[in-house]
């Protein structure tokens, strides 16, 4: 749709990454890699360090130690705008559209920021393609503040298409979204991934994570406690104990056990 060129060298490499805020050790010696157009889920309980990891990957905060390489280039010391140009794009947990700018202007920003010498009519054409895909063409001249919460999420996704990064981190893309818009986001993820981009999906909606992702990374209090295929991770006792919990039968069984023991 937007850029069908397959990236020859898509590789994110995180090595021994640590982040401390004062005495709080938020990320502990994380090491993992993403090779090629993978669709990876990043899950974990609140406070696990998912957003901190995203902020480090995106350049918004610097790690205490460790390195991050994207496509062979070290990015952990770069400012966010350079990380974006190297090829990493992200959305935010709370939608951050440019509210007093039109939908089209929102889309122009990343395209014009990344490509210094670009034909404006080409940017316009791409922006209209993106809006068509997101079923938001009729809203092109509206201010972003006039959009619903779900539409603003779509707009954020649209901006990433205009940025055209190699790897995309989606932070809670399904939170508070109407089922119909959710379908569009599902389609977006699959399509963008099929076009050769790697996607890291952060979500608490396990159904979405398990149906979309081929690999899961599980964080718990700064530790990477699991890294593998969804089915394996689902039954990993450490993950079950830390985040997923036991299924209903086991839960009710344990509850009954507790009740019996107490009586």
């Amino acid at each position: 749709m937007l850029n069908n060129q397959k990236k020859s060298m898509l590789e994110l490499e995180v090595k021994n990454l640590n982040k401390k805020f004062g005495g709080l050790h938020v990320l502990k010696n994380l090491t993992f890699g993403i090779k090629g157009p993978e669709l990876v889920g990043l899950i974990g309980p609140n406070g696990a360090g998912k957003t901190t990891l995203t902020n480090i990957l995106d350049g918004a905060i610097k790690p205490s130690s460790g390195t991050v390489y994207l496509n062979g280039q070290r990015i952990d010391q770069l400012p966010p705008f350079e990380v974006a140009k190297v090829g990493l794009g992200r959305t935010f947990q709370v939608t951050r559209s440019f509210r007093r700018m039109t939908v089209l202007e929102n889309l122009y920003v990343p395209a014009l920021a990344k490509h210094v010498a670009v034909d404006k009519s080409e940017v316009m054409r791409r922006a209209l393609e993106v809006l068509d895909f997101l079923t938001m063409d009729h809203l092109r001249n509206e201010y972003a503040q006039a959009l619903s919460g779900g539409q603003q999420k779509l707009l954020e996704l649209g901006r990433l298409l205009m940025l055209d990064p190699d790897i995309i981190i989606l932070d809670e893309p399904f939170a508070g979204v109407h089922p119909k818009l959710m379908e569009i986001i599902y389609e977006y993820i699959r399509k963008v991934n099929a076009e050769g981009k790697a996607i890291v999906l952060i979500s608490h909606q396990m159904d979405s994570i398990f149906s979309l992702c081929k690999r899961l990374l599980v964080l718990n209090y700064g530790d990477l406690i699991a890294d593998g295929e969804p089915e394996d991770v689902k039954h990993d006792p450490v993950v079950v104990d830390a985040y997923l919990g036991k299924d209903d039968d086991e839960d009710s069984k344990s509850t009954n056990d507790i009740k019996q023991n107490s009586t």
Partner: protein
């Protein structure tokens, strides 16, 4: 003719009106009205450039009048201390440049005929009219003043990179007050509260199309300030339409999100400070040469408040609205000077006009957050958007059904 074209036509008519105005107006108070216009144009440059800084880029700086003052004092000090002389004074610091001597006058502060005089005055007394010294061309002073404003804009822009909202406002307010206090305190160099005199814009008069204008005539400075305003507006319009305008608005909305999308927010923040402070300094330098004197009181917070109020009442997020607002407010403030009597009580409008002005500001902030002029402009530029959205949505639904 569509609404966009109508807006263009109105804009051109307004410009033509102001160009023709000095020849259309013929009442007794001609000089006074011309002065109000010139001052209105001056404030329009300040309000529109501040609108770019605060309205477009979201950098609520209260140091704009300080940059204006830097421009004014830059050119004032330049024209006050530097001269060219065909012979050396042997009293001042001087350098030989070609067949002339570049003279740097010593600073003696406020003087009178009974106090110690500066080196050049002493030399002139010795020469007794036999030697003619040449003051520096004022356009060089104006350019240097504008550059000085730009350099300080760069420094302040770099210093406030990490400051937002109230912290930025307080920092720039502090800078403005420090500058004013320094100028007031450095009496020897700046003559403190007494102010420093400058040559007029056309000190030796000017001849235009065979018509001689004296240095105090209003028409030449009227056109200088009008064309300076139009030039600034053209630059601001170009910036607003370019990537620059798009990116500074993005950083106003959300700096982190803009950076995550590839915008070098640091660079654009500094650029907007440099450009707008240069404009303010340029306006200050020209206005100082028009008035003929600059004092530290011109940098007072009250003056800054006036610029802020003009931009807010006109429309903070539209530089043209801010400029129009400034001119209207300047005229209103002058027209409201007329005191009147109600029921035997005289209302002294020299004081009450400020109350009126404050009330307009409060009403604008409460009911018209985009200012009073911006909605008019948006009527021409954005009125079609709602119907377009509805129409397109209808079309989309029809397609879905098919």
């Amino acid at each position: 003719m569509n609404r966009q074209q109508t807006l263009w036509l109105i804009s051109i008519l307004i410009i033509v009106f102001f160009i023709a105005f000095p020849f259309l107006y013929g009442r007794k108070d001609y000089d006074y009205i011309m002065h109000v216009c010139i001052t209105g144009f001056f404030y329009a440059i300040l309000a529109s450039s501040w609108s770019m800084l605060a309205g477009y880029a979201g950098q609520f700086s209260f140091g704009h009048m300080a940059f204006m003052g830097l421009g004014a004092y830059g050119t004032a000090l330049f024209s006050h201390y530097f001269y060219l002389s065909p012979v050396p004074t042997n009293l001042c610091t001087e350098f030989e440049i070609g067949d002339q001597y570049f003279i740097i006058k010593n600073a003696v502060g406020v003087t009178s005929s009974t106090l110690d005089q500066d080196c050049l005055t002493k030399a002139l007394a010795v020469w007794d009219g036999s030697i003619q010294i040449t003051p520096m061309p004022i356009w060089i002073g104006i350019i240097l003043g504008a550059l000085l404003g730009g350099i300080f804009g760069l420094l302040i822009g770099m210093l406030v990179l990490r400051l937002r909202a109230a912290y930025l406002a307080l920092f720039t307010l502090g800078f403005s007050e420090i500058l004013r206090a320094t100028i007031s305190a450095e009496i020897k160099i700046t003559r403190g509260q007494a102010g420093i005199e400058l040559p007029y814009l056309f000190e030796n008069g000017i001849s235009i199309f065979g018509h001689e204008f004296s240095k105090t005539d209003k028409i030449p400075p009227y056109y200088v300030m009008l064309f300076l305003l139009l030039a600034c507006m053209a630059v601001l319009a170009w910036l607003a339409k370019s990537r620059f305008g798009l990116f500074v608005r993005a950083l106003r909305e959300d700096e982190d999100a803009a950076a995550a999308l590839g915008v070098n927010t640091v660079r654009f923040k500094i650029m907007v400070f440099v450009i707008t402070s240069t404009m303010a300094a340029l306006a200050g330098a020209v206005q100082a040469h028009y008035i003929g004197i600059i004092t530290p009181n011109n940098l007072m917070i009250l003056q800054m408040s006036l610029v802020v109020a003009m931009a807010v009442i006109g429309g903070l997020e539209n530089f043209a609205a801010a400029a129009i607002g400034a001119i209207i407010i300047q005229f209103l403030l002058e027209l409201l000077r007329e005191s009147f009597v109600i029921g035997g009580v005289e209302v002294d409008m020299t004081l009450w006009r400020l109350v009126f002005f404050g009330a307009v500001l409060m009403i604008t902030l409460r009911f018209y957050r985009n200012g009073l002029i911006t909605p008019i402009i948006e009527f021409f530029t954005r009125a079609h958007v709602a119907s377009e959205t509805v129409e397109k949505r209808g079309f989309q639904k029809t397609e879905d059904v098919e």
